[in-house]
Amino acid sequence: MVDKVADNLALTGAGAPPMANGELVFDAPWQGRAFGMARVLCDAGVFSWDEFRQRLISNIAIWEQQHSDKPAVHDENVHDEPVYDKPVYNENVYYEIFLQSLSMLLASKNLYAEAELTVREAEFLARPHGHDH
């Protein structure tokens, strides 16, 4: 079953989502929503999965580039070679880049103006806490 899913979605190879024992891993509800949106839009022919994946791969590469050479806090008592922060590439980071790639791809197709998303986001952020989900 899992193999079949992976085949259909091209969930393997570069840019593939985080998986545990061959299963998709979502760390929070919004990650599932983001994945679900991409999957539905792809099925509807809004974009091809490969098109999306290429964008995802390049955004992941940019993220890794930005996070790979940041020196960690140096411990003066340790005189080994310099310590570097390794990029912590987890589900949260993956789906943040995933969501960013998705919104960029859709904006590039003129499905909405980027400002529209910014406005909508600001409206949602302005909601009081404790609203119902």
Partner: protein
Amino acid sequence: MSDDLDKHQLNKPPLDKHHRHDSPQATRAEALESLLIDKGILVASAVDAVISRYAERVGPMNGARIVARAWSDLDFKQWLLADGSAAIAQFELDGGQVEKLVVVENTSAVHNVVVCTLCSCYPWAVLGLPPAWYKDPAYRSRIVREPRVLLAEMGLVLADDVQINVWDSSAEIRYMVLPQQPHETLGEPESELAEHVSRDAMIGVAR
């Protein structure tokens, strides 16, 4: 109904312990989805359908494997009930979840059911994505007020002498039900037992 109130106890966290779900990413995802729906590019139910497919078939398998282990290994079961978070560590669920997991055991005398009365706190790492009804205000209120009636409506009729415990999830504590092992599966290997465990049974709305 008054019957129910006598026979179940509500294990409720303080109000301020409930989860604030709105991370910036969650808000962005919600804003994008809402915009796409307004533009007629996306239908929310289609997204629900994709998610439910993963929720039904992918996510709950983690919980099912844990239940299967508990059914076939008494030591593990006792550990699981005593310290759920520690006991499931060996399954390498990799969900990044930091909440405490409490596993509650069904017996012939006690039935457990899980809810999040204020929002939709859910044991992601073991059960995957929550079903839509779990977030439904009707489920969240009625499972507390009249659990026996609601469970019956959901297809689970419990005898009157079975005590119902309702567990209210919070940001810090998530609950999972350890269902009773069906008699006909006694002696089956652990690898096959997981197939008898449903997501709904681990929430407590099915046996």
